[in-house]
Symmetry: C2
């Protein structure tokens, strides 16, 4: 038996128009301002087809004509751009100490970024109520701007299966929760799709769409939180594994005699290179992590030797974890996210040295290690990116066709 993804699929002519709409939309996203003639010559679609597709996209208020025309010989061409005024994609991250919501327009421009405190450890129904209240306010704000919600994705530090069930979220204390269904109920069936995904997966999608290495087909995003998780993009797509549980790098055992990990074992990557190791405490209070990390940054800047030694050790351990990823997956880039971002000036040198030392391929297989340019918002932003990805794949809202 050959799986359905190993070869070409039959060309279904009924889908051709939807596919071509999405192709044109993506072209405008990447090349705006551009003319109908640009689209035709680059996509291979004929001009009449392009005009018809553009008319449809204008009708759906996804593309608009600008006043601009192209400077060239012959009849001037009206230039097209994405219409940022009509739609919104929403991403929400639930973390141990905060909820972050972001909204972007169809072009990916940021419309809103909210951060609200949140207490891990509340039961799922209380968490759902709190998060739904935030979502409701975001949605209302967007509706007042006359925008239609394209969809919403919730990121959280959890094993989320391919069906979207939150199987285990150890740091939130939740398990086997239909979070998307519960949120839809709390929002009284809001008329847009709600999805739930692992925070590292969504961080990777954010990097792919909005990050400094967005062109990379093979990219791994590492969350730098209490836990350490990976979002794995290979050949341009998130790879979730058979049941959706890929990316669990946090419990690779680095040292059988190392410090105790929250999983009960000793010397896991998470115990030796998670944020707890930076703060030298196994269970720092979630609410205080950000403040304490700022203090670590100040101490490191001031040249405090104990702090510098801790960061060097954490960087070395993190580098061992990254080298496993580099050797097994050969990504073009591993991007450190979350709390690793402010610590990057001290972590990156030992991480890179360890990867260079342990990579089997010549020149580390070309694998770069960098800090995220998206900061703490990456998972929420990735939630919005996932919504835009689904539009780019041909699931267009509304319109006449």
């Amino acid at each position: 038996m050959i799986t359905s993804t190993t070869g070409p699929q039959p060309a279904d002519f009924a889908d051709v128009r939807a596919t071509n709409l999405a192709v044109v939309l993506r072209f405008v996203r990447e090349h705006a301002p551009c003319s109908r003639a640009d689209i035709a010559s680059s996509t291979g679609l004929n001009k009449a087809t392009v005009s018809s597709l553009i008319a449809d996209l204008i009708d759906r208020r996804m593309v608009r004509e600008t006043g601009l025309t192209e400077n060239r010989v012959g009849r001037p061409a009206t230039m097209l751009v994405l219409d940022g005024s009509s739609y919104v994609a929403i991403g929400v991250e639930i973390n141990v100490d905060y909820v972050c919501a972001v909204a972007t327009d169809l072009a990916g421009e940021r419309l809103l970024t909210w951060r609200r405190s949140f207490s891990a450890g509340v039961p799922v129904n209380q968490g759902v109520a709190a998060v739904a209240a935030i979502i409701r306010r975001v949605v209302n704000r967007m509706i007042k701007q006359d925008r239609q919600v394209l969809g919403l994705t919730v990121a959280l530090p959890a094993l989320v299966d391919v069906a979207g069930t939150v199987r285990i979220a150890p740091n939130l204390g939740w398990h086997d929760a239909d979070l998307a269904g519960d949120l839809a109920k709390a929002l009284r069936d809001p008329g847009f799709t709600i999805q739930v995904d692992n925070d590292a997966n969504l961080g990777a999608l954010a990097e792919q769409r909005f990050g400094a290495h967005s062109g990379a087909g093979d990219l791994v995003y590492l969350t730098g939180e209490m836990g350490v998780g990976a979002g794995v993009i290979l050949d341009g797509r998130l790879r979730r594994g058979g049941l959706g549980y890929s990316g669990e790098i946090g419990h690779v055992q680095l040292d059988a005699d190392g410090p105790e990990c929250r999983c009960g074992r000793r010397g896991c990557l998470e115990a030796m290179a998670g944020i707890g190791a930076v703060l030298r405490r196994r269970d720092p209070s979630p609410a205080e992590i950000e403040v304490e990390i700022e203090e670590v940054v100040r101490s490191a800047r001031a040249g405090d030797e104990a702090t510098l030694a801790t960061l060097a050790a954490v960087g070395t351990h993190l580098g061992r974890g990254v080298s496993v990823i580099a050797n097994l997956l050969n990504p073009e880039v591993v991007i450190l996210g979350g709390y690793y971002v402010p610590l990057a000036p001290w972590l990156l040198p030992p991480v890179r040295a360890e990867v260079a030392d342990r990579a089997i391929a010549p020149e580390s297989g070309g694998c770069e290690v960098v800090a995220s340019t998206l900061g703490y918002d990456a998972p929420a932003l990735g939630g919005a990116a996932m919504v835009l990805d689904s539009v780019d794949s041909g699931r267009l809202p509304g319109g006449t066709s």
Copy 2:
């Protein structure tokens, strides 16, 4: 920037026929004997198109009509099968102590399996001459059967970059060799494509096409040789990473105080769970490995305690390596190949116990660990599979259209 693989591609009508030929060919491969009507109803292509495509495939001698007809009401339908008589796909594995060549017909039926001794350590040009001599004899044999060679793929234990260059083959002593080009020259431009790939990658392709878990979209194959490498299939396709170096699991460090590894470090997976660890010697003579492994099997069967203890320890170490793969990639199945196959009765229990213990996801994320059913031939067979994959992807030989 969005990479070209994140969304739909423009429908290129010029490619539609080639795509549909490949779709029909794959359908016949999977469902033969089948009728034109079966193909039409399952693929969504109309009957006239299917008849035209089948006529083309018959013309290319890739499909043939059988004498059989379908038992049903109305006009009897002539049944179609793949034509196994006209083509051959060839795979060759170069290993430290042998060269293995296999040939299959278009349907994947084995036509030939040859195994010849080979001495690692000879310079590339001598190796190329020896392998070319074997290939020449295989090709001549096939030409006498009136078969056209669809292509040939060479497997070897090496880092092979995406361009096909053998960057480093430590156990063969080769580096930076254009093996495909050298073989083509030695064969005086034989008129078929020669490709080169890592043995673990090709083992994975063999499992995907011919193995007991061929339906799995997410599958990892582990070579059990002097080295331990992984071939990674996710979402139905081999994932090579940015430069082609994925799958290097062999030097994950399990124990900083462990035995010395050939890489210079201590306690690598390869040093603790490679075949050298089974034989309790760092550098067993390649020519004797197979004989010595047979001896280990005899001792284990006889209940020799030292042997059983060694295998239990190797299995535990191997399980730690497999658990890294299970956690990071969440495959449906990890398949142990090479010399692990005869040792599987003793290795599998501790490997599975370790994976169950160390997997973060519930029920090990559904990850099974099994022994290959393809034995030592898997990488060579994977070479033939890669050739058939390229036909399935639409690169059809000859014909009139």
